[in-house]
């Protein structure tokens, strides 16, 4: 993609600007679709219809919501720390947006094929924590502060099991580039890492249970990282009244909202790349190619987004100490054990 643009425009700054803006082309329609999907899935789980009046089956409602948010008064509490307050939504969004740089949407399109892609994502998505802490602190609201502190503790603790899960995949594939990890699993569903990767049968069977556990660990940890139920403790509406984003309104609130949904796709995309073949078609060479690759990548990603929505509207919320318990006493030991086991299998 970058080469194509360079050949078109020459080696100018415009190439980088276009490359940098491309994920937005995805995020904005994706957010609209997901907001709509979330409302509709939730409604059908709850035996109701959700919005039905704006457009056919309420399809225009996300646009109406955005229009509403644009018109809202942009309030800044008088007691707030103004600079941090203004800055925080953008820092949160930057952290999420930066992760899109290394997502391999297709073999032909990846923002930047970093050789440390996964590592980069783990690092850059931690920026979100800084933004959330800033938001909570700057609001000068005790409830927001609670939300921010909880979210910092939560995201930091859950990064550990999720990093272990990523480590297991890196041990098997021997690369940190997300494009290469996807490439490693191409040529059919049987080669996906969740089913043991492209190895001889015996090794596959040995790897399969551990990869399954790793997948579950990563998925649970990723739900915690995006603050979704049952881990929505930082914004727990019935406890903390939306937590860190209580005081935000209008477009600043929309930025939090957008980055939450974008982040949801990032973690789903990482699950896809690490365990479900990334852009690789499940039928080997059938239905593959740059366009199909993007189709498979987004379909798989959206599947996990929908699973997340499904869980959100089914489960109650954990308590802070129980959340820590799950991370440190359940996920981390299991992840450590699996890393050991997978390491032994790979070496053998």
């Amino acid at each position: 993609m970058e080469q194509f643009l360079t050949s078109l425009l020459g080696d100018t700054i415009w190439v980088h600007i276009i490359m940098g803006a491309l994920p937005l082309v995805f995020i904005l329609p994706y957010a609209l679709v997901t907001i709509y999907l979330e409302m509709k899935i939730a409604a059908h789980m709850q035996d109701r219809l959700a919005y039905m009046r704006t457009g056919w089956h309420g399809t225009l409602q996300p646009f109406a919501d955005i229009l509403k948010l644009l018109q809202k008064e942009d309030t800044i509490p008088t007691a707030a720390d103004k600079i941090l307050f203004l800055l925080s939504p953008y820092i949160v969004f930057t952290g999420t947006y930066a992760a899109f740089a290394v997502l391999p949407f297709s073999k032909a399109y990846i923002g930047s094929d970093l050789n440390i892609g996964v590592f980069y994502i783990v690092a850059v998505s931690s920026l979100v924590v800084v933004g959330l802490l800033m938001a909570g602190w700057a609001s000068n609201n005790k409830w927001s502060l609670f939300g921010a502190l909880r979210s910092a503790a939560q995201i930091v603790s859950y990064e550990i099991p999720s990093a272990f899960a990523i480590l297991a995949v890196i041990m098997i594939t021997g690369t940190m580039s997300l494009n290469s990890i996807s490439d490693f699993q191409s040529s059919g569903i049987q080669n996906w890492l969740i089913f043991g990767g492209p190895f001889p049968m015996g090794k596959k069977l040995l790897l399969f249970p551990f990869m399954l556990i790793m997948f579950v660990i990563y998925y649970v940890a990723s739900m915690a990282e995006v603050n979704r139920t049952p881990f929505d403790i930082p914004e727990a509406e019935s406890e903390l009244v939306q937590g860190y984003n209580t005081e935000f309104s209008g477009m600043k609130f929309a930025m939090f909202y957008l980055s939450e949904y974008a982040n949801l796709f990032v973690v789903s995309a990482i699950v896809t790349v690490l365990f479900f073949g990334g852009w690789a078609s499940p039928f080997g060479t059938f239905m593959s190619g740059p366009g199909w690759d993007a189709f498979w990548f987004i379909t798989k990603g959206m599947f996990f987004v929908c699973v997340n929505i499904w869980l959100r509207w089914t489960l109650p919320r954990l308590r802070v100490d129980q959340l820590m318990y799950v991370s440190w006493k359940v996920l981390t030991p299991f992840a450590l054990f699996c890393v050991l086991a997978i390491g032994l299998i790979v070496v053998w």
Partner: protein, 386 residues
Amino acid sequence: MSEIITTPATSSTGRTLRTEEMILNMGPQHPATHGVLRLELVVDGEIVVDVIPHIGYLHRCFEKHCEHMTNYQQVIPYTDRMDYVASMTNEFGYVVAAERLLKIQVPERVEYIRVIMAELQRIASHLIAIGTYGIDIGAFTPFLYCFRDREKILDLFEMTCGARLLYNYMWVGGLSHDIPPDFIPKAKEFCAYFKPNIKELNDLLTYNEIFVKRTANVGVLPADVAINYGCSGPMLRGSGVDWDLRRDDPYSVYHKFEWDVCVGKGEMGTVGDCWDRHIVRAREMEQSVRIIEQALAQIPEGDVHAAIPKRIRPNPGEVYARIESPRGELGYYIVSDGSATPYRIKARSPAFSNLSVINEISKGAMIADMVAIAGSIDIVLGEVDR
């Protein structure tokens, strides 16, 4: 419960660091306080050190208003507005008290209809309690399932008296209307429809692992404390005390039906924890369905207006009558001076007494537990403040 650090820590520059307790206002505008309750929390980090409930945001001088009505019947719409999610039982308590004061015997059909309405109301009220409790714990979906079923009960009420929330249906000596002809088949239909839904609700919420983790062993209310604070209803039965006014101080025609009093047994944790209070409500709904089914089968014919007095002038005297409302012992103390208006009415509201115990049971809990505890008490501020 965590230990509070008493020795001050020192920073790298040698300055003494200390931690302070923070005062956090939960309410009056807070989604978990179910109305306009203000809980002043003294917190040490996430741990609640002290809770001071502040009430009175919804005080409407119910008792004083009653002294200025032109007659006894006019008090009934006011009672509706006390516990606004269980208006039928509020009326029930008042009319029972007024009838005892007047010494009137109401026709049997009236008693049966009152019991059916009160039990339907109990189901509707418990559905709200359970549904909103789910929201407090973070599960949104059971709430809408509860409201879907409550809607059917409200439809039955609407069919009977035209109102869906504040009914003014039970009058001193009778009822405002007889039930319409298709009420009985519709109510039977509802019972058949509702029974499997209780199981569905329990599967989705009550036995959910996370829900159990959040509510079991949280806010444990021992039986002696519950009795000392005057707790009643599911709050008291959740603590394992087998006490239900419908059986232990019978009024109306409850003695004619077969049903069980549900008590908390500490199945998931300790007796008297939030989960026990929740399961008592869930099981009471099954018992209410049993009572309704029996009442529908036995209901006699008759005139519901027969015993309504033209003019109510009780002899000077006083009466205290109590009934089992969805929240507990709802009592009315009425003093008559022989005139057409009550001299004094005092309502003994179960939610008020139940709420008073919150400080006792939530010390050392976490903020998230506060929400679980406040939700399990099932307060209705209209009744706490009156």
